[in-house]
Amino acid sequence: MFEAGAVVGEASGSYEFIDHTADVGIRVEAPTAAALFETAARALTEIVTDAGAVMPRVKRTVELEEETLEVLLVSWLQELLYLLEIEGLAFSRFGVKIDGTRLHAAVWGEPFDPELHPRKSDIKAVTYHQLEVGRKGDSWEARVIFDV
């Protein structure tokens, strides 16, 4: 089933941080699976820096396929972390399409610059701990814990 995210670049969803002693978790809610993935991505950026300070100047595309939607979410977030570490890019706008357990996304951001972007937490990994992705009534929900 083909699902597109909302208006390109605008994640229509919400997230909150979960209190976890040694690490950081997020609980995400959105109207579609695609919007869920976009919102989770924005939450990831917000852990690392101030997402609002990241301008959408540079574009990258991400193509992934996994066996389950849960593992797909972990791989998606890991990909964004990888782009941060290797290319030094932080992203604040996301346009995700999900087809079954396949993802195609366009992501917009800019090079991470400590002069412009406050340094918050370094995320070591996206874990499978208490990982949840699924429908809840009319909307989609997810929970992910990050090792920081």
Binding site: A22, V71, E85, G88, R119, D122, K124, A125, V126, V148
Partner: protein
């Protein structure tokens, strides 16, 4: 998620508790803690995690937890478990994402009063010389892929050969700074890419370089053997394998999730994913893990070199004159094949230490000759406002914990809670008033890392000392800290 702690726990003595085997557990759990600590430990999922580890096939002895226990992924942090090589498993969750996160302790010939007036300069210069924090990379250390692969094979020896530090340093590192059997071909391109630009960087969160001094000595003979004296200035480096290690863990969790299914291993938590030690995936993980561990040993060796250079710059004299020497370097996230006595027989087992430190007793052949009479040095960092400890391994560790002990303080407040508690307080000013200069790259790192966010490490250390698994040698207090 506030789940009631359903795990049964029985007190054995002042320092030990048992989680009796039940259901699918193959053995008991043993937790080292006082009653007061156990009240706190019960508040989260850590005890369930200790019980969960006991499900794993081929576990030898019990599922163990040190007094700095808190919940992690699969294994608790502070978890120790050993598995037979024949039928037992290896699990990346029993090592952690930050493979060979560890601690190095250096001594100097300097006294506190000589360094106090220069602490601010030292901290600024360290901060300048050692990149830390989100997105930190070095521009001066350009490694080709082949060179990086050599780092993974040679570890700290690579760094010494490249001119960072001295050959004698290697004697004072666990495994001489190199775990045998590393295979860089089993480390993914992605891991190598992440590691390339990060060699020689500190990372962030609870990683740090700390200048301190010997505040109290508990064991004169052991202190002397380690080269410690009262008021002596010391330096601690705490860091690991950076993005390379995290990626190796990620990669192998994915592979071993599938292996777990293939081998029909039933798990209460998928983060305990594993494979038999002798399976090809099991061997591959250990070979890749060794590569990541060696990267971390090299990393700490490089950072040590820049610490030496920083002191040389500020004091205008050589590191030799300053007496800057490595006492010891230990891992606290690792899996190793070691020989232990099990029911009176020598047995090779795969020991997992996740937030736990090796603590070999006096006489053990793997300890450097200089320390063999007193025991292997164990470095237990506390939070940046209080103290850290130097211990030595004791016989109790070999008898009970596969030669293992605690690793640090353990958090009690989440980062979010810590930031709340720190609000409105000038934390850096507070620490300055207590004689501690802190410089941090992160916007909120200092608030996240306030002393109150951590357990009191002295309580943790008292438990391992009381239980006879390690012995207190000295206490160190911070003077200057750099953090990511």
């Amino acid at each position: 998620m506030a789940e009631r702690q359903a795990v049964k726990i029985q007190k054995i003595d002042e320092w030990r508790w048992r989680i009796p085997r039940e259901g699918k557990m193959r053995t008991d759990g043993i937790v080292y803690a006082t009653s007061a600590m156990m009240d706190d430990i019960r508040k989260d999922e850590s005890l369930t995690q200790v019980a969960n580890v006991a499900w794993l096939p081929g576990i030898v002895g019990q599922s163990l937890a040190m007094p700095d226990i808190h919940w992690g992924y699969g294994f608790p942090i502070g978890g120790v478990a050993a598995f037979s090589l024949d039928g037992g498993v290896v699990s990346p969750g029993g090592v952690g994402y930050d493979i060979n996160c560890g601690v190095r302790l250096m001594r100097s010939g300097l006294e506190r009063r000589e360094v106090t007036p220069r602490v601010r300069e030292l901290v600024e210069t360290l901060f300048h010389n050692i990149p830390s924090g989100v997105g930190s990379r070095r521009k001066d250390l350009k490694l080709s892929r082949e060179e990086l692969q050599r780092v993974l094979v040679k570890g700290a020896a690579w760094a010494v050969k490249a001119g960072f530090g001295y050959h004698e340093d290697l004697e004072h590192i666990e495994e001489r700074g190199c775990i045998e059997g590393a295979n860089p071909d089993l480390v993914s391109d992605r891991a190598l890419e992440r590691g390339k630009g990060q060699l020689g960087t500190l990372g962030s969160g609870n990683h740090f370089v700390e200048i301190g001094y010997v505040d109290e000595i508990y064991d004169e003979a052991a202190a002397k053997a380690l080269g410690l004296f009262a008021d002596q200035v010391t330096i601690i480096v705490h860091t690991g394998s950076r993005g390379l290690g995290h990626q190796v863990c990620d990669d192998y969790i994915k592979i071993l999730l599938k292996s777990t299914e293939r081998h029909g291993i039933e798990l209460p938590d998928r983060q305990l994913c594993c494979a038999p030690v002798h399976s090809s995936e099991g061997r591959q993980y250990l070979a890749a893990m060794a590569g990541a561990a060696n990267y971390a040993f090299a990393n700490r060796q490089l950072i040590f070199h820049w610490v030496r250079e920083t002191f040389e710059e500020i004091f205008h004299t050589s590191a030799e004159r300053l007496g800057l020497k490595l006492i010891y370097d230990v891992c606290h996230n690792i899996a190793k094949v070691e020989t232990h006595l099990v029911h009176g027989e020598e047995m090779k087992v795969c020991v997992h230490r996740k937030g736990a430190t090796r603590a070999f007793p006096p006489g053990h052949p793997d300890i450097p000759a200089a320390y063999r009479e007193v025991g292997q040095p164990v470095l237990i960092p506390g939070d940046m406002g209080r103290y850290s400890y130097v211990l030595v391994g004791a016989e109790g560790a070999m008898a009970e914990t596969f030669g293992s002990t605690c690793h640090g303080a353990g958090r009690v407040l989440s980062r979010h809670q810590a930031i709340k508690v720190a609000r409105g307080r000038g934390i850096i000013r507070e620490l300055e008033n207590r004689g501690i200069t802190v410089r941090s790259a992160g916007k909120e790192t200092v608030q996240e890392e306030i002393p109150e966010a951590y357990k009191d490490v002295s309580r943790v250390v008292d438990v391992v000392h009381g239980a006879g698994i390690s012995k207190k040698v000295a206490r160190l207090r911070p003077m200057g800290v750099i953090k990511g």
